[in-house]
């Protein structure tokens, strides 16, 4: 069943078109990877779904439907009821995932309080359970964000996103800022939880290694447009667009240490 459908979405500022005619869909249980270099408009597309664009950037045309509801014309208040419950986000920068002066637990509880009518006790149970699901200790609940490591924070972010079993998870480069071992653990957890909830995932990345492992379908984006879409098998075995081909070529081979190091360097210098 199609959860999310983006049709001919165009996003622009007053003097520049940033995303043009993007069409994309995510079905429940499906893992769709949106691939492309930074600045290609992937993140903008992702932010638009939750109405999170800021400042001068606006949707010019197109539609985004979630289930049978149009998200673009939806009132902010109504959209807020979906965000964090039906549609969840995990962002790249783990340092900015949580407000620095509130404890992690308080911020998890805030989400539960916003979206449910559960008692304090019930909420605490759910929160601790969610932390356990991502293999974190209960003490994390009382910590402030600055006391946790990047990997821990990103796991808290995943726990927060998944605890209400959303039907769509938007993961905007969730591992780019992490080292590769931590990134691996985080993605394993993410895919496990998404599978359990039968949740559709829109996974935004520029790293095709992760795509190869988890994605079911791939959309390749360049300069604000989707240049190629297809199943993982099709894209990896028979790429059509020259840009896709060059991306595939850039995947570092495991035994090639030099390119691997260069790749890591790129990751670090975000």
């Amino acid at each position: 069943m199609i959860m999310l459908k983006i049709s001919e979405l165009t996003i622009a500022t007053t003097n520049e078109t940033l995303v043009k005619d993007v069409t994309l869909s995510v079905a429940s249980g499906e893992w769709v990877a949106l691939v492309g270099e930074s600045g290609s408009g992937k993140s903008l597309t992702a932010l638009t779904i939750g109405g999170l664009l800021s400042g001068q950037v606006k949707v010019e045309s197109g539609s985004i439907t979630f289930g049978d509801r149009d998200l673009i014309s939806m009132k902010r208040k109504e959209l807020s009821r979906l965000l964090g419950k039906e549609i969840s986000y995990v962002f790249q920068d783990y340092n900015s995932a949580f407000t620095p002066f509130l404890s992690v637990g308080k911020q998890i509880d805030e989400v539960l309080r916003t979206h449910t009518k559960w008692s304090r006790h019930e909420r605490l149970g759910i929160a601790l359970n969610a932390l356990k699901d991502v293999k974190l200790q209960e003490s994390v609940y009382r910590s402030y964000p600055c006391q946790l490591s990047g990997g821990q924070l990103q796991r808290v972010a995943i726990a927060t996103s998944m605890m209400l079993s959303p039907s769509l998870l938007i993961a905007d480069e969730p591992t780019t800022a992490l080292d590769s071992i931590t990134a691996h653990h985080v993605l394993e957890l993410l895919s496990k939880l998404a599978n359990e909830a039968n949740c559709g995932v829109l996974f935004i990345t520029h790293d095709l290694r992760h795509v190869k492992k988890y994605a079911t379908r791939i959309a390749v984006m360049k300069d604000g447009q989707i240049v190629e879409t297809g199943t993982k098998e099709k894209i990896f075995t028979n790429p059509q667009h020259p840009y896709t081909k060059s991306l595939l070529k850039a995947i570092p081979k495991l035994n090639d240490h030099r390119t691997r190091l260069i790749g890591l360097e790129k990751e670090v210098s975000w």
Partner: protein
């Protein structure tokens, strides 16, 4: 952030310096303090009287002994007697201090009531009419002398409309005009600071993350953005609480409000040096206490600073 121990040490050192400044002050002041004390009575002073009082006060001893004696008295809060009223300086000051602190507090309330909503609205509705109003408000606030604003208010509200008393103290009505005058003058500064600080908050990624979790606009604003923007406001607040205390001097004179500021201005005009000395002492302590308070309030707004980093 420093710990309590070094803070305390700093405070004691500060008191020592303050005592020295106060002592030097009275020694440097033109005129003989003994004459000053006796002359206040407006009678002919005899040589004998002068010598007697001089001995009584220990002014015939060498200067370092005077300082030590004086300092011992100083640390017992004994600051001598006012030339004018012959009352102990410390009593005079402490009897006036509550009025000044009350005025400071009510002015702060006015400041917050005006600046916080106006600054917030200016940031939320950036470049709208309310933003322009806040800009104009800030510009005028920086250009209008508070005493003139007070004069206008007195003339309009107290004299023309006869709604409120223009001077003295006693009821809340007496506090209203002075607090509004002082509060408005302060608010002008904070409206713009709060606005730019809030705009900075709105651009933070964690605010976007909070929105992405579906929190209500109200909750995102008050619990996340507003609190984040308070830190720079607090920093400047510490500095300007001091200038607020300075501002009370003018306002107290203007409204004939019997606070510590009015006391010191009267003392200056009548060359009542012990009172001025006591004023230095009290202000020194007040400013220090304010700075300590501001430091403590950082921790209230940002508890994570205290916990330290594990990473």
């Amino acid at each position: 952030m420093k710990n309590v121990g070094s803070r305390f040490l700093e405070f004691v050192l500060f008191l020592l310096v303050l005592s020295f400044i106060s002592f030097a002050f009275i020694k440097l002041a033109p005129g003989d303090p003994v004459m000053g004390m006796l002359k206040a009575d407006e009678v002919v002073v005899t040589e004998e009287q002068v010598d007697k009082l001089r001995e009584e006060l220990g002014f015939d001893k060498p200067i370092y002994l005077q300082y030590i004696n004086w300092m011992l008295a100083f640390f017992q809060f004994d600051l001598g007697y006012s030339y004018m009223t012959k009352q102990p300086v410390i009593e005079e000051l402490f009897s006036r201090l509550p009025s000044t602190l009350t005025l400071t507090a009510t002015s702060l309330v006015v400041m917050i009531v005006v600046a916080f909503p106006l600054g917030s609205l200016a940031a939320i509705y950036r470049n709208s009419w309310i933003d322009h109003v806040s800009r104009l408000f800030a510009l005028l606030g920086a250009s209008i002398p508070s005493f003139w604003l007070g004069l206008l208010l007195i003339h309009l509200v107290a004299v023309q409309l006869d709604l409120l008393p223009s001077m003295g103290m006693g009821t809340w009505k007496h506090l209203l005009l002075p607090s509004v005058t002082l509060g408005l003058a302060m608010a002008a500064v904070y409206v713009r600071i709060l606005r730019s600080s809030l705009l900075d908050s709105f651009g933070q990624d964690f605010i976007r993350a909070a929105k992405a979790r579906g929190l209500s606009r109200k909750r995102v604003f008050f619990h996340h953005a507003f609190r984040h923007s308070l830190l720079p406001v607090l920093t400047i607040f510490g500095v300007s609480l001091g200038s607020l205390l300075g501002g009370t001097v003018i306002i107290e004179v203007l409204f004939a409000y019997p606070g510590i500021g009015k006391l010191v201005v009267d003392a200056i005009l009548k060359r009542d040096y012990p009172i001025i000395q006591g004023y230095i002492f009290i202000m020194g302590i007040l400013v220090t206490v304010i700075n300590l308070g501001v430091d403590a309030s950082y921790h209230l707004v940002h508890p994570e600073l205290k916990r330290g980093k594990r990473r």
